[in-house]
Amino acid sequence: MSSRTTGRAVEMPVASAPARPPRRGVGLDRVGLYGLLGVAALIALFPLLWMLSGSLQSLTELLSNERFLPADPQWGNYVTAWVQGELGVYLRNSVIYTGSAVIGILLVSSLAGYALARLDFAGKGAFTFVILAVMIIPAPAMFLAQYKLLISLGLTNNPVGYVLVLITSGIPMSTLIMRSFFVSQPRALEEAAALDGAGPLRIFWHVILPLARPGMAAVAVIQGLGAWNEYLMALVLFDDNSLMPIQRGLTSFTSAETPQQQILLAATTISIVPVVIFYLMAQRHIVKGIGAGAIK
């Protein structure tokens, strides 16, 4: 609600300035543009439509791979997925983990990203290098060491430990993304605030953060996905099934001995609904950026 007001208040002046290309050869151009977008959309969507269709087929029908549409939609697949996969419990856990992780990542990485983009201090280059190096480490070799560390910290079978790991794994990339967004933002507002005598933290919180909304929204949807799809660390960390995230529900349908691919597809479809809803909420902010408008 509140954010909508912000968006509109700022959009108004911008709306009068056409961001669109000049109207030369508009008809043909537009056909070409929509043609390109349409083809891309088809390629992006096709496997997903196929997944929807597969989630409504019987196992034999699915495995014989002969039909695109189910002959007799098996809506029961979704019930089986929900009940057998205990998706209710896992969904709640995943929403909590992902929510906490995304908020943590946004706070930590926008602070760090801002410092790298705007503040002058010794050791900035070194920190950037460390962040890069950390991002580059191939994960498999580090995985068990990380787990052993959590054991010695007493953070196994504990959601706090898990969320901290999720946050940490998102920080390097998000910091670099946030930095690039802060760099490309006008300095005028900060400088005005500095002249008014505001300290760096105040400037950050009241001036910078609101301007960085497109970047933060992008970081949130990208890191949200990462956290939502994480499974290996949760698998080894949690002993109680009641603490497991949504991916656990999906893996109960992946087994060569007891093939249930149609249920796996149904469970996957259920599991991506929250992600898509979150995206639909966040994407407005990615696009209705207020950075450009605010300097007017």
Binding site: A19, A44, L111, I136, P138, P140, A145, I222, L264
Partner: protein
């Protein structure tokens, strides 16, 4: 417009010395403190252990990890699979960098410039990324199946039967096909960042260019492209790194086969640790591979930094 320009000279102000410098450094590190604490504890510590592990011998379970000096590096140096994987990953890196970034940028520009259906396209392009890699593997093994796969059937239907392939089984096409699936799966995130970056390009610049009668290409070349430079450099770095660290897509689609034609370093490292139970040489592979990546990204950043300065 004018205020935006003002930003540049301000940056040149010489930093003062003494107590104010100390205060400035303190503030800077204060902003970084949470990130440093978390990364230090949860990433650097285990990473340091992983580096130490590359000089030890460990089966992943045993309590003993005897020191073996450079034996692991010696072992890896003579491992044909690992070196084959290093060659393959160059291909994935190139495809991810040029194709992945190219598609992401073009689509972001396209979506940004259409009036209707923005939300629809934005959502659709983001969707492939929401799947877990296991499901991507399942979907594409059906779609790309050599006999009755939908892709081959579609090709037959439109009279392109000669193009039908054993997509994942033929070494000539397996590598590009896996790379294509990877791009399908991952380009959404570059797209989002470009799209977000485009929002920060001041609209006034385009207005001014319109008044000057600039055409679309010159507006892209002289406004969008330079304005997007910070985002471009970070997106291309991230896409490159993601492509070089490709793992799940390969594992579920081909597991490195046929032969070792699609083997990649991360999968080789994973197999060395979790299949062959040689964590020491897996760690040595990580150090070699990670070292190569660090060099590459320093190089890449240096190049883009020069570009954005120009």
């Amino acid at each position: 417009m004018t205020t935006w320009r003002l930003a540049v000279p301000v940056r040149r102000r010489r930093p003062p010395r003494g107590r104010r410098a100390l205060r400035r450094n303190l503030i800077g590190w204060l902003f970084l403190a949470p990130a440093i604490a978390l990364i230090g504890i949860f990433t650097i510590t285990p990473f340091a252990q992983a580096i130490l592990l590359s000089f030890q011998s460990w089966d992943g379970v045993s309590p003993d990890t005897p020191w073996v000096g450079l034996a692991n590096y010696d072992f890896v140096a003579s491992d044909p699979i690992f070196w084959a994987s290093m060659r393959n990953v160059v291909f994935f890196g190139a495809v991810g960098f040029f194709l992945g970034n190219g598609i992401a940028l073009v689509m972001a520009l396209a979506v940004n410039s259409v009036a209707r259906g923005k939300t629809f396209f934005r959502t659709v392009f983001y969707l492939p990324g929401v799947l877990s890699v296991v499901v991507v593997g399942l979907l594409f093994s059906f779609i790309l199946a050599p006999g009755s796969g939908i892709l081959n059937r579609l090709l037959g239907l439109v009279g392109l039967g000669t193009l039908q392939q054993n997509w994942l089984g033929d070494p000539a096409v397996a590598l590009p096909v896996v790379a294509a699936v990877f791009v399908w799966f991952h380009w959404g995130f570059g797209f989002l960042l470009f799209l977000a970056g485009l929002q920060d390009v001041p609209k006034e610049l385009y207005e001014a260019a319109d008044l000057d009668g600039a055409n679309r290409w010159s507006k892209f070349r002289y406004i969008t492209w330079p304005q997007l430079a910070p985002v471009t450099s970070i997106v291309s770095l991230l896409t490159l790194l993601a492509a070089l660290q490709i793992f799940g897509t390969v594992q579920v689609l081909t597991n490195g086969g046929p032969g070792n034609h699609t083997m990649v370093p991360t999968l080789a490292i994973y197999n060395e640790a979790f299949v062959n139970w040689r964590y020491g040489s897996a760690a040595a592979m990580s150090v070699i591979f990670g070292g190569a990546l660090v060099l590459l990204s320093v190089l890449q950043l240096a190049i883009t930094r020069r570009r954005s300065r120009v």
